[in-house]
Each structure stands twice: as C-alpha cells, then as structure tokens.
C-alpha cells in the first residue's frame, strides 16, 4: 500500500497536475477575472446611462455607498434574513429530525413529503406563497384566519420581511431536516439505551446524547445555508421587489437595482466588493469549521 502510494506520487506529481489542471484553471479564472474587474470598476465612474462621464473615481463610489442609508439597511436586512432563517431551520430541523426518527406508521412517506419543498425552484415557491398562501383576500392563510374569526393579514405590505423569512425558511427547513435526519441514523442505539437504563429521561437524552451527536451535521447545515442565504434573490425579486421602500432589500437585491435598473456599474461594483468582503468574513470562520470537521 505504502509502496504504491509513494511511487504513485513521484510519477503522479505531473499526472496529478495535468488531471486537476482543467478544474483548477477554470475555477481560478472564474474567481479572479470577475473579482479583478469588480474591484477595478468600483474605482471608476462608470454609468451606462451617462457614457460621457468616465474616468478614475478613486473611492468616490464607496463614499456614496457608505453614506447611503440604503446600504446599511440592506446589510441589516441581509443579516436579519440569514439569522432568522438559520435559527428557524436549525432548531426546527433538529426537532423534526427527532420526530421523524421515531417509528410510526407511514414514516417513509411522511418524510418524503416533509423534505419536498427543498426541491421546489425558488421562483415557484415564491409565487405560490405570494398568490395562494399569503394573498390578502384569496390566500389560504387569510381564509384560515377568517375561519377562526381573526382579521386577515396583508402579509407583504404589513409584514414584508417576516413574509420573506417564512418563505425562505419553508424552503430550507427540509434541507436541515434531510441532513440532520441522516445524521440521526448513525446515532448509537446502545448508547441511548444505556442512558435510558441509567434513568435518563427523553429531555436529558436529547441534550446530552442527541445534540452532541448532531454537532457536526448542524455545522454543515449552517455552512451550506449561509452560502445560499447570503445571496437570496429570486424570492425577493418575485414577491416584493425589495419593497415596500427598502424593507426587503438585501445586499444582493441592492446591487441588482444599482447595476441592472440604474445601470450604475461603478456603484454596483462597490456594492459587490462589500458583498464579497461580508461573505469572506463569514467564510473564514466557516471554512475553518468544516476543515476541522473533516480532519476526524
């Protein structure tokens, strides 16, 4: 085993390089070229609507951006959205994983139903929630509210961000459930049984055995969701278009408005740089966490 490995490495140095070259080169280009351009544009006066006004702008774009209350509001919205969805999906996903791990009639089918929203494309789930669930007069939710004699809620105008959080959490709760349920299946039954024999109740078993066992899976869930949630776009695009006002404008949507609606490439690029920095702060912690998890 060792011998072949060692010989594989000497011959393999070149071989490894050539085999990995396509993937590595493409990803390098995909990362560095747009990144470099974004940085460059962010220092330029570059508005597609004003072709005459060009040239080096220095930090002007950043100055405008950082003095614009929209940026801070968008950052706050981004963090609120990510934070709440993470809390709901991780806590809810853990509880559901415990529930769906129990033995009950038709468990397999119930599981499949519960994980389904994860496979629904974001534009569809946003439209279904907007028109059929949360519609103020014909939506199922207002019908339910009226049945119980409660006033119907106009979700997207009175609780815009909450509505988006509900939609996004609905899509990602099944993902957390799927991962945590799989992790539950490798929980050692004998250990649980031993604890039960020693008189541990279900709550103690959950906190001292189940939860520590799920630690790694939970960290993976947080990491993957973070990657996707930081850049939520379609759900906002389809339902509220960032409004009312800036209530549901996250960083992704703000940059979209600057770039493709206002055609201000310079400003949009500065926003892009901010988004990249924010994502990287998050990534430094996350990649470390995963790396540690992969070690053992």
């Amino acid at each position: 085993m060792n011998k072949t490995r060692a010989s594989g490495r000497t011959v393999g140095g070149l071989r490894t390089l050539s085999l990995q070259a396509p993937a590595v080169t493409l990803l390098l280009v995909w990362m560095l070229v747009p990144l470099g351009m974004t940085l460059w544009f962010s220092l330029q006066r570059y508005n597609l609507l004003m072709p005459g006004m060009t040239g080096f702008a220095g930090l002007e774009n950043y100055e405008y951006l950082f003095t614009d209350p929209a940026l801070w509001s968008a950052m706050g919205t981004t963090l609120l959205l990510v934070g709440w969805v993470l809390v709901i999906t991780v806590v809810g996903g853990t509880l559901l994983a415990v529930l769906f791990q129990q033995d009950f009639a038709g468990r397999g089918i119930a599981r499949v139903l519960a994980i389904s929203p994860f496979f629904v494309m974001p534009t569809v789930s946003a439209l279904v929630w907007k028109n059929m669930m949360m519609h103020p007069s014909n939506g199922v939710l207002s019908w339910v509210a009226e049945t119980f004699g409660l006033p119907a809620v106009d979700w997207f105008s009175s609780l815009p961000l909450t509505s988006i959080i509900i939609i996004v959490a609905w899509q990602w709760l099944p993902f957390a459930l799927l991962i945590l349920l799989t992790a539950m299946q490798s929980l050692d039954d004998d250990q649980v049984e031993a604890a039960r024999m020693d008189g541990a109740g279900p709550v103690a078993i959950f906190f001292f055995i189940t939860l520590p066992h799920l630690k790694r899976a939970i960290s993976v869930v947080i990491m993957i969701e973070m990657i996707f949630l930081l850049t939520i776009f379609a759900e906002i695009f389809v339902t509220t278009s960032g409004g009312p006002g800036l209530a549901t404008t996250n960083l992704a949507y703000l940059i979209y408005i600057q770039a493709l609606l206002n055609f201000d490439v310079g400003m949009a690029s500065a926003g892009g740089v901010v988004a990249i920095i924010l994502a990287n702060i998050v990534a430094i912690f996350l990649v470390r966490m995963v790396a540690r998890n992969l070690e053992d």
């Binding site: 490495r9 990803l27 351009m37 529930l99 769906f100």
Partner: protein, 289 residues
C-alpha cells in the same frame, strides 16, 4: 430494532400516559403526519389549483371541485411553455455533463493520488462557492455582453458548469474515496493506463455515485434563479425565468400559474425523492453519514 426495545422503555415510564407502546405510536403517527402535511401543503395546493378552472381557483379554498385539464392545455398553447422547458433541459443537462467531464479526472487524482496540497485544493474549490454571485454580476454581465453570450444557452451552460464544479468535484471525491483501492491497483499492475483505469474500472464501479452527483447538479441547475433571471431575457430563458414572469399583475391567472409551476417542478421533485439519500452525502461532503 426499535420494537424490541419499546417494552423495556415502556416498563420504565409506566406512570406516563405514553406508557403503552400503542398509544405512543399513535401519537407519533398523528404528530408526524400533521407536520408533514403542513410542510407539504403549499405544494399540494399548487398541484390541486392547477386542475381547477380560473373561477374555482380564486374562490374560497375548497377541496371539492370538478377537475379539469384546461389550464394545462392553456399553458401549453400560449407562451410556448415547451420552449422554456427545452431550455431548462438543455442547460441543466449540458452543464451537468460538462461539469462531470471536467471534474472526474480532478476527483480521480485527488482520491487516488493524494498529495499534501489535495485537502487545500478541495477547500479552496469550496471557497469559490462563497464568492457571492451578486459581487461578480456586473463583470459577468459585461463580459457576456461583449462576447454575445447574453441570453444564450451556451452562456448559462458555462455559468452553471462553473457554479456547480466545486460541489461536483467534492461529491465525486467523496464517492471515489470509498472505493476499494485494491481494484485500481490490480488494474495498474496489469498495465492499464490512467485513461483505461478511469474508463473501465473507476467509472463502472462508482456509477451510482456519479449518477447521483449528476442528478444533484441537474437539480441545482434546474432550480437556479439568480443567473437565469439576470443573464437571459427571452431566447434562452429557462423555466425559472418563465415562472418568474408570472409575478407581473397581468400574469395573475392562478390556475395557469399552478399548472405551469407543477410542470416545472414535477421532474425535479421526483428526481429529488429518488436521490435524497445519496444527495446528503454529496451535499455534506461525506461529513454526515
């Protein structure tokens, strides 16, 4: 397995109302099914609405109505639904094939010829997923405009290939690593070249893994909305963009929207159901088993 234990735990907690295993199981069944039905409800409702007339669709919610296929026919007839579906198929499968083609050699060398840098390379690949698409939207948009790739299938295939490449490499790496090394070594002893090794030994033996990796890439591409909404307008728009066009007020036909949505998600939903187990391993890079 569980049932053999249940009497024991039942005896322990005999004072609790959940003491009897039958009662416990009944409670769990009701609870589990209630939760599952609540989560699934919006999808169920969408499918149901697709079989209603427009009048029934906006009426008070009701499970009793006479089902009709008229919305499906209307969606088919108007707006060239088939063209968007074809775009989705071509783009999702094209980018998946391309990603597999690029990723297989790379994952092979990482799994079977590991060096000190392998883990670093893998983590770096993952970190490119952290680069938020919004951060690079402007350059990609301008490059695509200059190269004439805006609103083309080729453009989206390129973007989706690169978008999924890190995950595909990771997932294949996870599956390849699980393969017994002896078989490949035996092949190498018999004088197989790298290409022969990959084509005749590795690929057939890890076909289930490659297949579920491919399916995950198809699902991710099929559902991707950010790039498709920003880089396509009419010619190359896939179903994600087509469905989003219903968000404008004049598109408010619930039954037709539901029928179109059902057609858009049905294939992927079924693929997802079939591959859920393997998908977990891929999505978590084998960290969760």
């Amino acid at each position: 397995m569980t049932s053999s234990r249940t009497p024991l735990s039942g005896a322990k907690a005999s004072s609790s109302p959940l003491a009897s295993p039958q009662v416990r199981k009944l409670v769990l069944t009701v609870l589990g099914w209630t939760v599952a039905c609540v989560i699934f409800f919006p999808i169920f409702w969408m499918v149901l609405t697709g079989f209603k007339t427009e009048a029934d669709a906006i009426a008070d919610p009701s499970l009793i109505f006479s089902p009709t296929l008229e919305s499906y026919q209307a969606v088919q007839a108007r707006s060239g639904y088939a063209r968007f579906a074809l775009n989705s198929v071509v783009i999702a499968f094209g980018s998946t094939l391309l990603a597999l083609l690029i990723a297989i050699p790379s994952a092979y060398s990482m799994a079977f010829l590991p060096t000190k840098r392998t883990k670093g390379t893998l983590l770096w690949m993952l970190s490119t997923k952290m680069l938020p698409p919004v951060g690079v939207l402007v350059p990609i948009y301008l490059i695509f405009r200059d190269l004439g790739l805006l609103d083309t299938r080729t453009g989206l295939i390129i973007v989706y290939t690169l978008m999924n490449l890190p995950i595909v490499v990771w997932m294949l790496y996870t599956f390849f690593k699980d393969m017994p090394k002896d078989i490949l070594e035996a092949g190498r002893m018999d004088g197989a070249s790298t290409l022969q090794e990959v084509l005749y030994l590795l690929m057939p033996l890890t076909l289930p893994g490659i297949a579920s990796t491919g399916l995950l890439a198809v699902i991710l591409s099929w559902n991707e909305a950010f790039w498709s909404l920003n880089l396509t307008s009419s010619n190359a728009a896939p179903l994600t963009a087509y469905i989003a066009s219903f968000s404008s007020p004049e598109g408010l036909f619930w039954a037709k929207l539901s029928a179109a949505s059902t057609m858009a998600i049905a294939p992927i939903l079924i693929l997802g159901w079939m591959t859920q187990k393997q998908m977990v391993r891929g999505l978590t890079f084998g960290a969760v088993k």
